[in-house]
């Protein structure tokens, strides 16, 4: 071709041919057009009387796609198959835009009214799914609640390549995103009818009569679909669904399997933990008001975590939920409120653990969870792959160990039945037999760089005492008082003689001086316990941390809801003011605020105090 292909399309408004073929006469028999696809353009030569359809066939061979996938746009007009190019005013040098639709729906769907006109290309109909006037279906392509869930499907294929694969999933996607399917599915009445009348569905509804209400609420339906799309969630649900022998918790009046027993929880990760705690504090709340599966989702992690030492098997998670505000802690943490602060040290671990638990998605590579520390919202939560039962059990066991902090009374109740089931015993056995695993879990996966030494110590600590004993001991108010005193002493030590900190490091571990109520302090976490020189700079932070642990312990019986709120949330206003005043170190700000329990001016004094003692 003698022409230079330029990148900028030519303005063809005036209809004046921009170029003349040098070796062809400017006869009306042949037209040279520029075909422009997103990303590139090419020249094409066609006869004038070529119909659009023929041109499309030519293009489909060129672009390796189906004719139906092609959409030709000229001057803002869609070129229909029956047109000819000349009739549409396409002249030399004009630019025709081509859009290749992805994965076009198969015509195998029997929607007789799809092609009202034989003249109109079927693809045109599909493309006009929102505007078609020729469809007889009663579908109201409106804002049906089902559509939001489904509309995500077409959004996804839009990003797909144009190449047509005949793979199963793509094929399915094609079918799904076909306009006619969309219309069908968007007819809520129709869909409801379909679903309700399906024998499996009816069976399900007989077993769980409350499930039917899901179908009645579009919001619930959408949430359910969202959740259902997550495989991990389904797995969780499947596990929890198994009927549990233990239903000893009076606060769980519901008798539905699995999801029933979980109080309603808002699905949104944006929910403050306070909201969650409200939910949790009303175990007798009518579960019908909400989406049981959402609640299930929210309750899964709590369910997993909540267990006390006897660690009811995974199947029992659901019922354990209502009475454990620990779950609320864990859930919130799972929802990426990273600084939920459980009341005591062990809940710290559980907090981390749970987050680790929810965020891990590999077998035993706990270190992964460290990277997922940052709030990730709900997506983090469903990312759990409880693919292996033993793994889950291990988690359970370890988590059960940790989670007792918040409501130790309840934990004690549960611990009264240490061998409530053989599974529990096996869980405990598993935990004890895998000390490294337990240690890892306990330490909170936020610190993958923990020293082996640390783990060993903690492990020894664990093994020395029966798990239940530990938790019972912690439940003893005098014991917690003693711990408090120890912490105070340590805090004093840190203030006075930080160099001594590494010496007492082991004790600090045992007291749960794990980093941060929240994972947002990862940088202060690796306390290189074995390097004395690190102790000094860490001293002030140690103070802050001990302060937080102290506060947590102190407020254990106090204000759980307040406690559970992440410090960052509680102190957000103060953080703002501090930042406005020029204290740029968010980390230090938060530490100071936590230490001063939200007192901005005291925090400022603290911040201004030289950090090196």
């Amino acid at each position: 071709m003698p022409h230079v292909i330029t990148r900028t399309p030519r303005m063809a408004q005036g209809g004046r041919p921009a170029r003349l073929p040098a070796d062809k006469s400017t006869s009306s028999s042949v037209t040279q057009v520029i075909i422009k696809t997103p990303g590139k353009q090419e020249d094409f030569t066609i006869a004038d009387d070529t119909s659009v359809r023929q041109f499309k066939e030519k293009l489909s061979a060129h672009f390796k796609c189906q004719v139906d996938q092609l959409v030709l746009v000229f001057m803002g007009r869609l070129l229909k198959d029956h047109d000819t190019l000349s009739r549409r005013g396409v002249l030399d040098g004009h630019t025709i835009h081509v859009v290749i639709k992805s994965k076009h729906g198969s015509r195998s769907l029997a929607h007789p009214t799809r092609n009202p006109s034989t003249k109109d290309p079927s693809h045109q109909d599909r493309t006009r799914q929102g505007n078609s006037t020729g469809v007889d279906q009663p579908a109201s392509v409106g804002h049906s609640p089902v559509e939001p869930a489904l509309s995500v499907e077409p959004d996804v294929p839009k990003a797909h390549t144009r190449d047509q694969e005949v793979g199963r999933p793509e094929h399915l996607t094609q079918i799904l995103e076909d306009a006619s399917t969309q219309r069908l599915l968007s007819n809520t009445d129709l869909m409801r009818q379909f679903i309700s009348e399906h024998p499996d569905m009816q069976q399900l509804m007989q077993q769980n009569p409350e499930v039917s209400h899901i179908l009645d609420s579009s919001e619930l339906l959408w949430q359910t679909l969202e959740l259902a799309r997550n495989l991990a969630v389904i797995q969780e649900i499947m596990q929890i669904q198994q009927p549990a022998p233990n239903r000893e918790h009076p606060r769980n009046p519901q008798s539905r399997v699995g999801s029933e027993s979980i109080p309603r929880v808002q699905n949104s990760p944006g929910q403050g933990s306070a909201d969650f705690s409200d939910e949790m504090l009303n175990p007798s709340q009518d579960p019908f008001g909400g989406n049981p599966f959402t609640a299930l989702l929210g309750g899964q992690v709590p369910g997993q975590v909540q267990s006390s030492p006897p660690s009811p098997p995974p199947q029992e998670w659901g019922e354990q939920l209502p009475q454990l505000p620990t779950t609320r802690v864990i859930y919130a943490s799972s929802c990426a409120f990273s600084s939920i602060t459980p009341a005591s040290s062990t809940p710290d671990k559980s907090h981390h653990t749970s987050r680790a638990f929810t965020s891990t998605n590999s077998t035993n590579s706990w270190s992964h969870t460290g990277t997922v520390e940052k709030p990730a919202g709900i997506p983090v939560l469903p990312s759990v792959e409880v693919t292996q039962q033993p793994q889950a059990e291990e988690k359970d066991a370890a988590i059960s160990l940790d989670s007792s902090g918040q409501k130790l009374e309840d934990a004690l109740q549960l611990s009264d039945e240490p061998s409530s089931s053989p599974i529990t015993a096996s869980l405990m056995q598993l935990l004890l037999n895998n000390p490294s695993l337990a240690a890892q879990m306990m330490l909170g996966v936020s610190m993958p760089q923990l020293s082996q030494q640390w783990r060993q110590q903690l492990l020894a600590f664990l093994q020395q005492t029966q798990l239940s004993e530990t938790l019972i001991a912690l439940g003893n108010p005098k014991a917690s008082q003693a711990i408090l005193q120890i912490e105070q002493g340590l805090q004093l030590l840190a203030t006075e003689a930080p160099v001594l900190l590494p010496w007492v490091a082991p004790y600090l571990w045992g007291l749960g001086w794990l980093p941060a109520p929240s994972c947002s302090y990862p940088d202060t976490v690796p306390w290189a316990w074995d390097t004395p020189d690190m102790a000094e700079p860490n001293g002030p932070e140690a103070c802050h941390k001990s302060g937080t642990v102290l506060q947590r312990l102190q407020s254990l019986a106090g204000d759980p809801a307040h406690l559970l709120q992440a410090p960052e949330i509680r102190f957000s206003k103060q953080m703002e003011s501090l930042r406005a005043m020029g204290f740029g170190n968010q980390h230090a700000n938060l530490q100071a605020l936590i230490a001063t329990e939200g007192d901005s001016s005291a925090a400022i004094l603290r911040l201004r105090r030289p950090q090196a003692f």
């Binding site: 696809t37 997103p38 959409v71 859009v99 077409p154 990003a159």
Partner: protein, 185 residues
Amino acid sequence: MEPPNLYPVKLYVYDLSKGLARRLSPIMLGKQLEGIWHTSIVVHKDEFFFGSGGISSCPPGGTLLGPPDSVVDVGSTEVTEEIFLEYLSSLGESLFRGEAYNLFEHNCNTFSNEVAQFLTGRKIPSYITDLPSEVLSTCSPVLPSPSLEPDQLYPGLSTTAEQRDHSMLAPAFVQNPGMCLSHCT
């Protein structure tokens, strides 16, 4: 045959300098610039624009820039929303990826121009597309001005380099008198 539906296509033009460019450009650049233009295409009741975060959309006038300073009627199109979104997504994978953003060579106005031509066959007014060359032809590149706090210019979207760049340009008039706007990306 059913009559084709025609959808109006509008170009929203925003002056990022909010009038400062018109007043100060003769002093600072030596030539008159009417504004620092940011554009977006509005069609199917959505506003589409390109930034360093890629192609984005929002309700018309829904960016932090507020209502547009002027609206240009580009024409009308038969392209349906579905086709348009497909087109945009393939654009977003090819020409208009987020990292392809270049303040002068390949910016929001480039995108608006491209889309306008796709939708209607028409280009956007030349005074918009000529802006980078106008600015570049003035003086030599200079330090970028301290930018505004890169808060969310576009609600719900992370700050794009374009917004930062634009915000750099705008205060450049104010904060760097006598210095050129050219921002080396």
